[in-house]
Amino acid sequence: MINYWPLLGIALVVVGFALRFNPLLVVAVSAIVTGLLGHLPFLNVLATLGHGFNENRYVTIIWIILPVVGLLERYGLQEQARTLIAGIRGATAGRLLIIYLALRQMLSALGLTTVAGHPQTVRPLVAPMAIAAAEKQHGELDDETSELVKAMSAATDNVGLFFGEDIFLAIASILLIQGSLASFGIQLTPFQLSVWAIPSAICAFLIHGTRLLLLDRQLGRRK
């Protein structure tokens, strides 16, 4: 007999996120409820949570980059990113982000996934450049429009990463697919798998690229 009660923990997360409670609180409450419903004693739940947190500390290491980004912003990095873009003829937010999308996909396909990212490149460089390009083309942006341009900058980074990295042979997800299928007796090489990431990568470029071109037109209409 399968115990369906732990699924309530998932429902808690969905409801908590939808109602916009503090996400840390939502996740912690859901973790404890799920554990208890899965018949783990409270102390075990606490220990599992603590163990999981401790084992996953590497996820948080990326933030050691903040002092560098902050220092450079103090000396006008974002302003300079804007100045640079303002000097390029024909630069638009959409075109700039298409170039970034292509670069991000190619670098990820070569296994260079950490070369770019939200703290490394999007906040200090890509987002201010996209804003500057949009302002150059359409004049001062209202709050809503600049939110849209910033959000599209972050989105472009994600799409480029997700639909580039699997072309690289030694990426975690390819190894995971290989391992999972091997446990069912299906032997594949990483190469056989990563080749099949290429059609999706092309589709991702075409679909998101089209949306970026449409973004330029959309910005034009908002003016």
């Binding site: 399968i2 923990g9 840390l24 996740v27 490394q120 999972s180 299928l181």
Partner: protein
């Protein structure tokens, strides 16, 4: 050999610096909450291995209480005004990009060196930690360059780092918390339960329907768990292997690779993938914390349809 522990020492120091910087910001009325928050994280990074599982669990509860009870805030202190920044930017020009590019450049060169040259065999760096160690090296080099060239006040790095850290706030720990939630989900058997549920509604006869169910299962489960890695083994066991590969004779490489990518479309649409979707919203100071997700959904849905078509045609008709 340099391993993750070296980085935990470095990262602990950086988080302690965020605490110090927060304490120095008198414009933040809740600054002692911030100090507690970053201090707890520094303790976790430095001493996590000595606290024991229950000790770490208590630390997590303390961390969550500080954030959940809204005891952290942000100050309004600006180190330099926008006019000053304009002047600096005129003075330093495009050279300002160089320190910013030090970090990606170090990652780039280091990755090449440690993957494609004899350095790989020397075991200087623990292979599991290479990317993070390179990040750490890049940060240290960039900091040295910034201080040597721009000559900021001694504590400027601390103040600027904590200014950014406090503007992102609790979102910085959310990815790690979600990873811990994943551990609990696994311990409580959530994955196998979902697998059994999906397995119970297997369509009979229609390959297309089975493909759609497999892809949608990947998307939904990825959205729940926050990453496709947790979803893949479950969906492969429930539909991918028994139905698509064994029963219907699909190409295993396509079913595996494109199934995972269908899951990535789900990653684009869920707040559970916090480091990609929620953290950037905080980092870019968006008013809507779901702004990035909103921008991604119109890409994710057509891309999912494209992946389903690739699964169907390349998996069964090539």
């Amino acid at each position: 050999m340099i391993n993750l522990h070296w980085l935990y020492v470095l990262a602990g120091a950086v988080f302690a610096a965020f605490g110090l910087g927060s304490a120095r910001d008198e414009t933040n009325g809740k600054r002692w909450g911030n100090v507690a928050f970053w201090g707890l994280l520094a303790i976790s990074l430095w001493f996590g291995d000595f606290l024991g599982d229950v000790g770490n669990g208590i630390l997590v509860l303390a961390l969550v209480s500080v954030a959940g009870l809204h005891l952290i805030g942000r100050g309004s202190k600006e180190s330099t005004t926008s006019e000053e920044r304009e002047r600096f930017s005129e003075r330093y020009g495009n050279k300002l990009f160089l320190p910013a590019l030090v970090i990606p450049f170090t990652a780039f060169v280091g990755t090449l060196l440690f993957n494609y040259t004899p350095l790989k065999g020397l075991n200087l760096i623990d292979s599991k930690a290479v990317t993070l160690v390179l990040l750490g090296c890049g940060v240290i080099i960039a900091l040295v360059v910034c201080y040597a060239w721009l000559r900021p006040p001694t504590l400027a790095g601390v103040d600027e780092g904590s200014r950014l850290a406090n503007s992102i706030g609790w979102a910085m720990v959310l990815p790690q918390m979600l990873a811990s939630l994943g551990v609990i989900f696994a311990a409580a058997g959530v994955g196998s339960t979902i697998g059994a549920l999906v397995g119970a509604i297997i369509p009979s006869g229609s390959v297309l329907l089975a493909v759609v169910l497999y892809a949608l299962g990947m998307v939904v489960f990825t959205m729940i768990m926050g990453n496709a890695f947790a979803a893949f083994p479950v969906m492969a066991a429930a539909i991918g292997v028994p139905i698509l590969i064994h029963q219907d004779g699909g190409n295993p490489a396509v079913i595996g690779a494109v199934g995972m990518l269908a899951g990535f479309c789900g990653t684009l649409m869920t707040p559970m993938a916090a480091n990609f979707n929620i953290v950037p919203a905080a980092l870019l100071e968006l008013k809507n914390q779901y702004g990035v997700i909103k921008a991604q959904v119109p890409t994710a849905i057509p891309l999912l349809i494209a992946n389903i078509l690739i699964l169907y045609f390349a998996g069964f008709h090539l």
